[in-house]
Assembly symmetry: C2
Homo-oligomer: 240 residues x 2
Amino acid sequence: MAVSIVLSHISALLVAVLVLLWALAFRTTIFLRFYSSSVDGAATATAVAEFDHLYFVLHTLLMVIGFILFGGEGILAHRWGVGLGWARGPRKAAHLWLQGAALGFGVAGLLTKFKGNKGVLANFHSLHSWMGLLCLLLFAAQWTMGFLSFWNRGEGWRARTLLLPWHVFIGIFTYSLAVATAESGLMEKMAFLHTKHGIPRSSLEFTLINVLGLTLAIHCGLVVFTLIPVKHKESSNSTM
Amino acid sequence: MAVSIVLSHISALLVAVLVLLWALAFRTTIFLRFYSSSVDGAATATAVAEFDHLYFVLHTLLMVIGFILFGGEGILAHRWGVGLGWARGPRKAAHLWLQGAALGFGVAGLLTKFKGNKGVLANFHSLHSWMGLLCLLLFAAQWTMGFLSFWNRGEGWRARTLLLPWHVFIGIFTYSLAVATAESGLMEKMAFLHTKHGIPRSSLEFTLINVLGLTLAIHCGLVVFTLIPVKHKESSNSTM
């Protein structure tokens, strides 16, 4: 159990490093060119493209690090809180606030898409956007329900007992769907980089994105694995 | 419980209908044009493109219906087998053979990619292919281990008891990863259709693919939900 928590943290760190490396190392010059652009036609077009790229980088960082990694740490708060010797109260607080931060990052990541030069609605045609919106809606509903019911204790003990398994299941589903959405976003980005910008599929950048996508999938598996109570991992099953 | 099994089946049927509709309704003419193509240059290029499209359609149908939907039904065999009044033996046999069929379809779906005009290795640059290969490797290892250990009973009762939770967890992970891989494949296909063939993002075809992708994600959630034993859905939890 402790091993899978440590592996979850390590894989989260690896995902963060990989996504930062991709966002910063492959387009570092964008930050320099920003200040040297003048206002004539070609430079304006370049500036617009660079703004779009900046918003894309922001979207990626906010969603992968802010929404998914913070969300994963929030999910695991009840596990690593035990390791730190925390009582149930602080563990619940850590869970609530980490998920609150993740939701904030998720909404901010969504807003970056509205800043592009194509308007708001143009962003809602893709499968990626549909999956992402479903994630954010489920996440917001889960957080609100969790705050009112488990934190504020608006429901009695019996109702909370009935709600909890649903909260856990929908939470894991939302988290996994967010990871699947991220994978679909990475694939879409690579398809565009390949067809529109001619970046070869065997390039270092694509290999880095592939490693990022695979590490993210494995990280998701580790987080969900860590959630399984130890007794179930060792228990027998009538269907064996 | 019974409700979620029924919903799993209905959503599986819906996914199958949607993917068939996409594969057949939007390019029906391909089957007609095949026979009328002559052997001069332009016609040969068209024929190659049509062969590539045919292999793409085969890949999609084999992976979505053969690998994912058969795999999902195989996962659920231990659940709907109970509903049909089957003993443990027939349930295990249904699980083994449905997963065997899914593995066969998955390998066939992989092979269609080797038939394209770009050669074998050109297919292994994308994140989609890396995720898909990981799925097939895990699936093959799971099936072999399951056959030797749970079916053939090569291991003693104690070893099987220790193996089962791993078999279940890795199975659910592989299944979810396969769905995420499919979503990434749909996104890549739409990106190419948009940039290379000019199909607008708001077209009927893209809307159909989006609905397919979302239905597939919800189907995956329903299958995993159905796996949760009833007693855990109603049980309390010390961390509430």
